[in-house]
């Protein structure tokens, strides 16, 4: 199996789907001639032509809306947001048009909106946001956030084949920082299924995206102290895998909810609620959230570092919780 970066895995998944199904096409800003700001779609224009690799004016509402229209007509568009921060400019199309169409009068809306999100690269307040919760809170959408190259390829394929609008969060910090063996044949990772990345028995750390790696690092550090963390990678945020979340909770009896996104109204809250309702009896200590604070993402490296959850912060939380 070839070693691929997270970014290459996404490209490969996209590429294979473009080959497999002529109704798949990509659309966005600077994705054709330039191959995208991060080069995810590099080479696609040459391979698939202008009809299937569409450079657009800077108009997120028009782009998302056009994708919806194409989806209604039977196509499977994949929209690139140059940065997920700019999804706010196509917001109405996503939450009011795409999300509700099927429920309202029945059509399939098979489309994907994908793009880089997350911090850690000194992008400042507008090139670093984690805004997945706007969509996790919007019925009718699906939301995924792969942490590994393998999952990135498998999930982009599932997202493209899904009959519903899927918001696909790529973590830009991971683009070129992780490299994995990724099968170059066809496979999918199902939407809605979490995975236990590392088994453990003392504390379950439930997380997603780049923070999966932070959790794994904390887990290997803490193992030296005799504390075993179980790391659950959600992979999908909507629908999320309640079963795996509850099973891991029941197994460990203590839970840390970890995310890079800001705290109030974040995914941690949702998970805490389902755990405190459905696995209450299994709990042997408070549910602990480790998250970014409620601020915009600051630019200067010391500020950004302070803002972001990291291995240290997870370890401290785990030690405190273990001692409970």
């Amino acid at each position: 199996m070839p070693l691929l970066t997270y970014l290459e895995a996404i490209r490969q998944g996209l590429w294979e789907e473009m080959e497999r199904d002529p109704s798949v096409f990509v659309i966005g800003e600077d994705i054709g001639v330039y191959g995208g700001a991060f080069k995810v779609t590099a080479g696609m224009l040459e391979e698939f032509g202008e009809d299937r690799v569409i450079d657009t004016p800077i108009s997120e509402s028009a782009i998302v809306g056009a994708a919806i229209g194409a989806a209604l007509m039977g196509m499977r568009p994949v929209v690139e947001m140059q940065f997920m921060d700019f999804i706010a400019c196509g917001f109405d199309q996503i939450v009011n048009m795409a999300a509700k169409l099927h429920y309202r009068w029945g059509p399939a809306v098979p489309m994907v909106i994908r793009g880089p999100s997350g911090a850690g690269v000194h992008g400042g307040p507008y090139h670093s946001q984690s805004n997945e919760m706007w969509f996790v809170h919007t019925p009718g959408l699906k939301v995924v956030a792969p942490a590994s190259a393998y999952d990135a390829k498998g999930l982009i394929k599932s997202a493209i084949r899904d009959n519903n609008p899927v918001i696909f969060y790529e973590h830009k910090f991971l683009y070129r920082r992780i490299k994995e063996d990724v099968p170059d044949q066809d496979y999918v990772v199902p939407i809605g299924k979490a995975v236990v990345r590392r088994p453990g028995t003392d504390i379950s750390v439930i997380t997603y995206g780049a923070m999966v790696w932070t959790a794994l690092e904390a887990a290997s550090e803490l193992e030296k102290e005799g504390l075993t963390l179980e790391v659950v990678d959600l992979r999908s945020l909507l629908p999320y895998d309640e079963e795996t979340v509850l099973a891991s909770t029941r197994k460990c009896s203590k839970v840390i909810l970890l995310h890079e996104d800001t705290r109030t109204g974040g995914m941690g809250g949702e998970l805490a609620a389902v755990i405190a309702e459905k696995a209450f009896e299994a709990l042997d200590g408070p549910i602990v959230r480790v998250t970014a604070p409620d601020t915009p993402v600051p630019f200067a490296p010391p500020l950004e570092e302070y803002f972001l959850p990291n291995t240290q912060k997870v370890m401290e939380a785990a030690r405190r919780l273990a001692a409970y």
Binding site: A62, G65, A66, G69, P107
Partner: protein, 344 residues
């Protein structure tokens, strides 16, 4: 107010035109009758529980536009374009059932007003956030263009809606990509209570077309033939691969914004002036003048229309409301999709 380049010249007393005029008068009258019943009877009786928006005074726009459509064309009607749904294939009974929130209706009671769609019929309705269908129409047009069969997408919206960003992004996008879209703006001179002077600062919205690199035209929206002709000109360009057209159709909303609004903000004189330009009376006069139909034939038509509306309402009223538990079904489009079992 906007220029009104009328174009009754498309009328010839050939057989085919007579048939077209017959269709026009039929759909105009059917729409007026159906909407009057909705607004003045069903709503007042408390049988329609949500908002009621009708298109009295602007029926010629939907009728004129929809009658230009061919197989494979698609349409995005707005909240006052009842006629478009009928002309493009919804039954009146299904429409009424939807207004009455029945389970056996095109939206199974999930949606109200004209938020009714059907992919097979190529009808894609608005959502309430205004202007949001315009980008979607561009996407549909992209697909039509690629299919290469000369099909077009028509998209309707009010003049007030032109103030929204969606509209701009869509018109620019369509122009850049030379998409086969006809942007049909019904300028009924008010957006809810707000007159056009507070909406935009140009004489006619037709100037918006050239600002994006597409033709812009303004026609009398009470003249169904003018609308039909102008849309046809746009269609011809679009079908030939020459890209989009913007069309303003000027009229006056002959009702309040919705059934609960008395439209006191519309000057009395304006109401009177435009009442004389009622699009239905206008076409009727032409048809009588040209002797395409006799007064008696028109009266028969009116009787038929009333009967059709009676029958549709009776049919719709006989259908039950949806069971509450359906509320949580069909959020996602699954392989076993619940919606595949729906009526239309």
């Amino acid at each position: 107010m906007a220029g009104t380049g009328s174009s009754t010249k498309v009328v010839r007393t050939t057989k085919i035109d007579a048939a077209l005029l017959g269709k026009m008068i039929y759909y105009l009258k059917l729409t007026r009758e159906a909407e009057s019943r909705i607004e003045n009877v069903l709503y007042r009786q408390g049988k329609i529980v949500g908002g009621v928006y009708v298109g009295r005074g602007q029926e010629a726009i939907g009728v004129g536009a929809a009658l230009t459509m061919r197989a494979g064309d698609v349409t995005f009607p707005c909240h006052r374009d009842f006629s478009v749904f009928l002309i493009r294939g919804f039954t009146l009974a299904d429409m009424m059932a939807n207004w009455l929130a029945r389970g056996d209706s095109p939206t199974r009671g999930r949606e109200n007003t004209l938020h009714i769609g059907n992919v097979d019929l190529g009808i894609f309705p608005i959502i309430s956030p205004l202007g949001a269908t315009l980008p979607v129409a561009c996407g549909a047009a992209m697909v039509l263009k690629r299919r290469g069969k000369g099909n077009v997408a028509l998209v309707h919206f009010g003049e007030g809606t032109t103030s929204l960003g969606h509209v701009h992004e869509a018109m620019n996008f369509a122009a850049v990509q030379k998409l086969p879209v006809i942007f049909i703006c019904n300028n009924n001179q008010f957006a809810y209570s707000t007159p056009v002077e507070k909406q935009y600062a140009v004489e006619s919205l037709a100037v918006r077309g050239p600002a994006y690199g597409m033709p812009g035209e303004s026609v009398d929206g009470t003249d169904v033939l003018a609308v039909f002709g102008a849309v046809e000109r746009g269609n011809a360009r679009a079908r030939a691969g020459k890209g989009p057209t913007f069309l303003e159709c000027v009229t006056l909303r002959m009702t309040g914004h919705s059934a609960h609004d008395a439209a006191e903000y519309v000057p009395e004189k304006m109401k009177q002036t435009w009442a004389k330009k009622d699009p239905i009376q206008r076409l009727e006069k032409l048809i009588l003048d040209k002797k395409i139909l006799s007064r008696k034939q028109i009266e028969e038509l009116e009787g038929k229309v009333r009967e059709e509306v009676d029958a549709a309402i009776a049919d719709a009223e006989a259908r039950p409301l949806p069971p509450g538990k359906e509320a949580i079904e069909g959020v996602y489009c699954d392989t076993e999709c619940w919606w595949s079992k729906k009526r239309l």
